[in-house]
Assembly symmetry: C2
Homo-oligomer: 208 residues x 2
DNA sequence: TTCGTATATCACCAATCGGTGACATATTTC
DNA sequence: GAAATATGTCACCGATTGGTGATATACGAA
């Protein structure tokens, strides 16, 4: 007896998950410009109408994707794996290690980079979510480890400047090799930047 | 005698200029995503086929636009209008003034901001051009005013970090209000950042 | 087994995209 | 003047976009 082989199990959960993870794949592969109903459905191997049925459209799907993700490094990761040990290291070294961890945590997250690039262009539920998480996380981390009573320097502003600089250079390294004469695609270039940050930290802390 | 009124003078130069400036308008108004053959032609009040005839397509038009523009601040502007006076001010103040001028020069150039945002996403003739001009200009400026013989600090890396930070925060301010607890849309927020930069400069120069 | 419902497929829509060929009219050249 | 050419208009193309209604089929409950 010939039985028509069933190619796909019908399961809303599985299909939904497929769609959600397809968003991630495309984001990492093609960037945010690739994220469209047709492309996502194709990537998921699913009909696009299901995006509307299950998520009320692409916006809803992207939102669902945003809620799944661990896009932003945790405090633990930024501290280097040991919060207590981190809290006990001298401020200067703490800042240096933090910068190093921040750089690496972004470098190894192409999906996060893609969302950060998206943020530059427009806002949506996903970028808002990353925004929210980052702002919350960075402020928590700051208050945990970098509160300074000395009023002579604005450590918060300085740290955020460093964070902004690193974010920019990470994003630019996706498209260019040289920024201000520094090779932002090579290990050496980033070592140089890291040392620059260390010099800033050292200099600034002398003023405290 | 009834004479059919001539609505448009036929002049390739004028039409070409219209198309080129339409690119700028759209870029400032809608961002790079708005730059397409149809939209540009509509904005210019001209048939899109002329984009192909006169510029061999949109890419060519965008390239032509890139060659027209003064997108990047000149050395004179970054120095504050007087190169000699600038060269005579103490290094610490020179760096501080440079940062302030850099910030303002970007803040008042929405078109440049739009291209910088474009650079984050993809490369084309226009972004390549801005890239080239900036790299050249910034290196020239650096070698003119900030060459440091003292080997203890890497002034180049530090300046580029500051430039990257400012670029990032300018771009982010188009979409968000708060970055790391700092209001990047208000005068006060930028004053705070400027002071942070000043503290960095002061601290770093002490190490020289 | 039967039947209702959840799930998925498919065909199709209007709008927009980049791109082009045929034609009309203004301008220049002879 | 007429002819040649430069310039501009218009209608249309195929591909792709986001979005939907009708229909087929698998699954769970009876």
């Amino acid at each position: 007896m010939i039985q028509k082989r069933q190619l796909k199990v019908r399961d809303r959960q599985i299909t939904s998950r497929r769609l959600i993870s397809a968003v991630g794949s495309i984001l990492a592969k093609k960037g945010f410009k690739g994220v469209g109903v047709n492309a996502v459905a194709r990537e998921a191997g699913v009909d696009k109408v299901l995006i509307y049925r299950y998520f009320n459209g692409l916006e809803g799907l992207v939102t669902a994707f945003g809620k799944e993700g661990d896009f932003w490094p945790s405090s633990l990761e930024l501290a280097g794996g040991d919060l207590y040990k981190f809290s006990q290291t001298p401020l200067e070294e703490r800042l240096s290690v933090f910068a190093a961890n921040f750089i690496r945590s972004l470098q190894k997250r192409p999906m996060t980079q893609a969302i950060m690039a998206w943020e530059i262009i427009e806002t949506n539920e996903l970028t808002d979510e990353l925004e929210r998480v980052r702002e919350e996380s960075i402020m928590e981390f700051f208050q945990m480890f970098f509160i300074n009573d000395k009023t002579k320097i604005d450590l918060q502003a300085i740290i955020m400047l460093m964070g902004a600089a690193v974010s920019y250079l990470i994003l630019r390294s996706r498209n260019i090799e040289l920024y201000g004469g520094i090779d932002i695609r090579s290990e050496q270039g980033w070592n140089r930047l890291q040392e620059g940050i260390d010099q800033i930290v050292k200099g600034v802390l002398k003023s405290v």
